[in-house]
């Protein structure tokens, strides 16, 4: 087959995702006065910062053919954990963040080790991780804890001006993470190992790729991403809350799939995840702008998009196989 055509077909999900984003954003701009502005675009990043960061980690896990249901719970745990460390134990914020990131990576790495070492299904192990992290979060505190540290005040007030709009700290972290995730996923040996593993674990193993290290590594990385998302969530809300991020893992998975990454693993793109975040954010922003539409249309629309994308992927795969 013509190599240019093959390459184009491989990028087709990404092209379709871009088209859908442009279409959605355009429709919302036509329907609502004042929607079409740079401010709306930057707020897409700000309001979905922690969801987007979680989606970056999830993308890499899904590359490897795995899944991680624990990210929402890790966000909740990190949120209340850092707030308690800063407010009650008087730990400097930077140190608290490092501890939280280590804890997230340790939980993820532990789950990865169980999944790899004992050949346990990722679904089950990360489900246990979800219960564990959420339980630990509520064990620390069942109420939310406000954070009044100077650094927090300064970081929440910090903004990079961008014409009439501006990027907040959370948005900057998200953009940074998207770049880092892109680098890891598409330009390192680790990223290629993940994709090879997701494509066919047996042949990746026979090729001599370090499957075990990559698998444990990707879950540890995702645990750290969850913790980072939790930290950004504390910045966004100015407090720590144990019930933060309930059900967020589903949104993150939905974003990854909408972004054209194959849930069976082995194929995908971090750029798609960026588009997924933007599409998700646009739907949310449009519903907020409208004011008449109830919030549950969000869920229904995301479900419908998910369905459309999964069927599209199916169609493309089938045509390729034929």
């Amino acid at each position: 087959m013509n190599p240019a055509l093959t390459r184009w077909r491989r990028q087709l999900p990404l092209v379709v995702t871009t088209a859908i984003f442009v279409l959605l954003f355009g429709a919302a701009s036509l329907a609502y006065d004042g929607f079409f502005s740079l401010r709306t675009v930057t707020s897409l990043f700000t309001d979905n910062a922690f969801l987007g960061i979680a989606a970056v980690g999830m993308t890499l896990v899904i590359f490897s053919g795995g899944i991680d249901l624990s990210v929402g719970a890790v966000i909740g745990f990190t949120s209340i954990f850092t707030a308690t460390l800063i407010e009650q134990a008087k730990v400097p914020p930077v140190l608290a963040w490092l501890i939280a990131l280590t804890a997230g990576a340790a939980l993820g790495g532990g789950m990865g080790a169980l999944i790899h070492g004992f050949r346990l299904p990722p679904f089950l192990i990360t489900l246990a991780g979800l219960f564990l992290a959420r339980g630990a979060a509520f064990w620390i505190n069942t109420e939310s804890v406000g954070i009044g540290h100077d650094l927090y005040q300064r970081l929440s007030a910090f903004e990079v001006p961008l014409g009439p709009a501006s990027l907040t700290t959370g948005a900057l972290v998200l953009i940074g993470m998207l770049f880092i995730g892109y680098g890891i996923g598409h330009h390192t040996r680790f990223g290629r190992t993940l994709l090879a593993m997701g494509g066919n674990e047996q042949s990746a193993l026979l090729m001599g790729l370090p499957i075990g290290a990559a698998k444990i590594g990707v879950y540890a990385l995702n645990g750290a991403c969850g913790a980072l998302a939790g930290i950004v969530a504390t910045l966004y809300t100015g407090s720590g809350n144990p019930s933060m991020g309930i059900g967020l893992e589903l949104d993150a998975i939905a974003i990854v799939v909408i972004g054209g990454t194959l849930l069976t693993g082995g194929r995908g793109h971090l750029g798609g995840t960026l588009l997924g975040v933007l599409i998700f954010g646009t739907i949310q922003a449009a519903i907020l702008f409208d004011g008449r539409l109830s919030s549950w249309w969000m869920r229904i629309l995301v479900g419908a998009l998910l369905l459309a994308f999964v069927l599209l992927q199916r169609l493309l795969l089938r045509r390729r196989a034929a």
Binding site: F118, P121, L127, L130, L132, F138, P242, S294, G303
Partner: protein, 339 residues
């Protein structure tokens, strides 16, 4: 020495149920030691009351969902959408009852929504060949929204004595809910074990392609499992709504899929599909409810209750692991045979 392959299939099935049963017994003994009144059942106004009765009543909801989940997992799939279906069915009941419709129409409509939801999942998985996790994730996400749409975002109260009876009533002194859920269990058992249906489901779960070549309607069997699961979830939705006399689209059926999967896995059905045990599922459902009640009685805040559940899931997963299991069996066999 008889090789393990020669032991009759039924005996091997039962031997697996021993584990969850032992767990259930251990929990009950622990409770009885801590609080002697735990096992006490009293007769009040001709009705049975007591913690064990409570466990049966509360556990019947999980059992209903887990019944359907067992068949889906046996085909090698999973259904994440059951919680949302519970919420939708409850919402349909509340809205129809409030509009003054009869009980028969209400229950029929709720069951129909479950069947429809199951059919959607079944078509996506069996016909389009989507991964079960993804296919049912769609309805899990969208279904919650549909449930909120049905009740218009409100918590709709239900004031129907006959509907209430389904969950909170008593028949000849016995609570009604475990009775009809038990009947559902029995019907399912007869359906899958007294006909070839159970065997066919196991064949499809074990090796779909091989069973297709052997002449089984593998696609249809797979799809039917999801339809059955949807129907079970809608019945659980009816039970949930009747129990609290209201439909709460936000919270109803929350984490229900986890409890159901948990009950199935603890009951000895492997997540990889193939052989399944609905007796094990029933014991698993009771085990999880007993665990929840125990934690509640011990004064563990409900928010922390998931942690012991997580530990139990891990333990069971370990026992079922391909790596650990042969090692354990080898250890046990060596001890039995003096070398």
């Amino acid at each position: 020495m008889t090789p393990p392959e020669r032991t009759p299939l039924s005996a091997r099935r039962q031997s697996v149920v021993v584990w969850p049963l032992a767990g259930l017994a251990a929990l009950l003994v622990l409770n009885a030691v801590i609080n002697p009144s735990f096992l006490k059942i009293t007769l009040l106004d001709g009705h049975l009351y007591g913690v064990p009765v409570d466990i049966l009543v509360q556990g019947s909801r999980t059992l209903l969902v887990a019944l359907g989940m067992t068949l889906v997992i046996a085909t090698g799939g999973i259904d994440l959408s059951v919680g949302s279906v519970v919420a939708i069915a409850g919402g349909v009941c509340a809205v129809l009852l409030q509009a003054g419709h009869g009980l028969g129409l209400t229950l029929g409509a709720a069951l129909a929504t479950g069947l429809a939801a199951g059919a959607i999942n079944g078509v996506l998985v069996a016909r389009f060949g989507l991964q079960p996790i993804v296919a049912t994730l769609i309805l899990m996400v969208a279904g919650r929204g549909v449930a909120q749409l049905v009740v218009d975002g409100q918590v709709v109260l239900i004031a129907s004595p006959s509907f209430d009876f389904l969950a909170n009533g008593f028949l000849a002194g016995l609570p009604v809910a475990p009775l009809w859920v038990g009947a559902c269990y029995l019907a399912t058992h007869l359906l899958v074990r007294r006909t070839a249906l159970g065997l066919l489901v196991e064949a499809v779960g074990d090796n779909e392609r091989a069973s297709h070549f052997a002449g089984l309607a593998a696609t249809r069997i797979k799809a039917m499992a999801y339809v059955f699961c949807g129907a079970c979830a809608s019945l659980a939705g009816i039970l949930t709504a009747a129990n609290v006399r209201a439909a709460d689209a936000y919270r109803a059926g929350e984490n229900m899929e986890l409890d159901a999967i948990f009950a199935v896995v603890v009951g000895g059905t492997a997540l990889s599909g193939g052989r399944f045990l609905i007796l094990g599922t029933a014991v698993g459902a009771l085990l999880i409810q007993t665990l929840t009640t125990t934690l509640y009685n011990l004064g563990v805040p409900p928010a922390i209750a998931p942690v012991p559940k997580a530990a139990l899931i891990l333990g069971v997963a370990f026992l079922q692991s391909e790596r650990v299991n042969p090692w354990l069996t080898g250890l046990l066999r060596r001890r039995k045979e003096p070398a």
